[in-house]
Amino acid sequence: MFNIERWKEIFQSIQKNKLRTALSGMTVSLGILIFIILFGLGEGLKNSYSDLFLNNANNVIYIYPGKTTKPYGGFKTNRRIELKNADIDALKQEFSSSIEYVNPSLFVSEPISYGLESFTFEISAVSPSNQLIEKHVLMKGRYINEKDIKEKNKVVTIGRLVARDIFKGDDPIGKFINLGSRSFKIVGVFQDTSGDTEENKLIIPYTTRQQILKGTDVVGTVGITFDQSWSGSQAVKLSDNIKSFLKKRKSVDPTDPSGIRIRNVADEIDRSLQFANALQIIVTFVGIGTLIAGIIGISNIMVFIVKERTKELGIRKALGAEPNEIIKMILTESIFITAISGFLGMVIGIIILNSLDSSALQEYFITRAGVDLNIAFSATIILIIFGVIAGYIPAKRAAQIKPIVALRDE
């Protein structure tokens, strides 16, 4: 296949016909370039969408107690439902086979002070499983643990930004900080990749908070985790079961939309992923569309090139060129041009994508715009293959016509 003489012929033809070479090369380059940029931006759109949901654990069901809107079982309407420690224990027992962690939490609103300075941060009174649910990563010390829950210790694990604002570089571990009128010992610092909100939090044991609230056993929102490998429908079923269990236990009308509300993150993610998939389909269509446009472009130019060379091919045939030799010459030339300009377009496209200002793109809801190298390569190769096919058909026809016909072609 490799024939140095033919290559010399081809290089001469390429060199001496610069406009023709530039036109066909640009068609291919542009096709690939546009494909890669559109596809890359589409990927970015998808990325920002999935980023929104994948930073927290997605195997979580949240239970929100609220006010009833229907009278039931002798109770009046507008009754405030409160979940208590006993309810949590019952929940654990009833669903012991399906749930992993239960994380009761209380919302705390207390002034925070250290030394003479006071600060405003969010405080969460939770159980140790909060670390797993919110995906907090420990930087220093430890998270609140089961011993703290049992002994109702006044300890606190603080977010990275809290540590930075209050201690300004000093080691916070072992220091005491005032939450309201009580002093808490700092046992650890955590970080969270999902953003600043979580890192601006202080985490204390929920039992400690209950004791401070004059020994109440009421909890607020409850988070429950289940087996990560469960499907969305299994998760929905579990949350339905938990809902009816709690409604029965707290005497809430089963048809009451309020009273006990459940938020199933897995279900939400399922729906969001459907949207992301729709985005993916659109992106794919745009990609295929640009590829087809590129293929049509290269086909056009190949037909034009062969037409333009009909006379030259006739001369070559009259001088003794075999039809195969003619076809090989045209095809090798077209493969050479499409391959080089295709990869050139691909490289330029990737460079442009990578050099785009990511913060400016963020405003348009595009994160990490980029294209999978495999897809970029496949698209380039598809375009080259179609360039070859598009060149082969007219080349074969040109090789078949009688030299005299080709020579008459002025």
Partner: protein, 180 residues
């Protein structure tokens, strides 16, 4: 061999040419026949030397050897100094001489010239015909198609065609061109 025939048979070197497959035909065109056309049919992006060397390329001769042979034939038609010029930089007569050199390059048995002087003025026609006579005298069969009586009279034998039918076939006294 360049075109299809309407009727009759055609033998070349004891081989029936009709319905020959393209690959064989290409081979015969290359080895047996040299073509000279009215409109020269040079490849416009190749210089004179490369045009002459092209039939040798299809014989599989190496590039260096091709250039030596091609230059030799260009010398024969008196265009050695024009070897690096493109067809667009040559006059009509020069182009036709390059075309003749190209037709000779593969050392064919027969040279077919289709109206070789049709696109040339009478002075350059003389030059080209003088060249054709010279090659003929060196021992090469040349078939010239022409409408012009004076050109025909420069050949050794005239076969007259009318509406595709041979009406006359006679040997004539050649009108030899001197000092062009």
């Amino acid at each position: 061999m360049l075109d299809n025939s309407d009727q009759g048979t055609y033998d070349l070197d004891k081989i029936r040419i009709a319905n020959m497959d393209e690959k064989k035909a290409a081979n015969y065109r290359n080895k047996f026949l040299g073509f000279v056309f009215q409109s020269f049919n040079l490849i416009n992006y190749k210089n004179a030397l490369e045009n002459v060397a092209l039939p040798l390329y299809y014989q599989g001769i190496s590039r260096k050897e091709r250039q030596v042979i091609a230059l030799n034939y260009l010398g024969k038609v008196g265009l050695k100094d024009w070897s690096s010029h493109l067809p667009s930089e040559l006059s009509g007569g020069q182009k036709q001489r390059v075309a003749i050199a190209r037709a000779l390059a593969s050392n064919p048995k027969v040279l077919l010239a289709d109206e070789p002087t049709g696109a040339l003025d009478s002075k350059t026609s003389m030059e080209v015909m003088a060249l054709i006579q010279k090659i003929n005298n060196e021992g090469k069969t040349i078939l010239v198609v022409t409408h012009e009586q004076d050109i025909a009279e420069m050949c050794k034998r005239i076969v007259r065609l009318k509406d595709g039918v041979i009406v006359e076939d006679k040997k004539v006294k050649q009108n030899i061109i001197k000092n062009v």
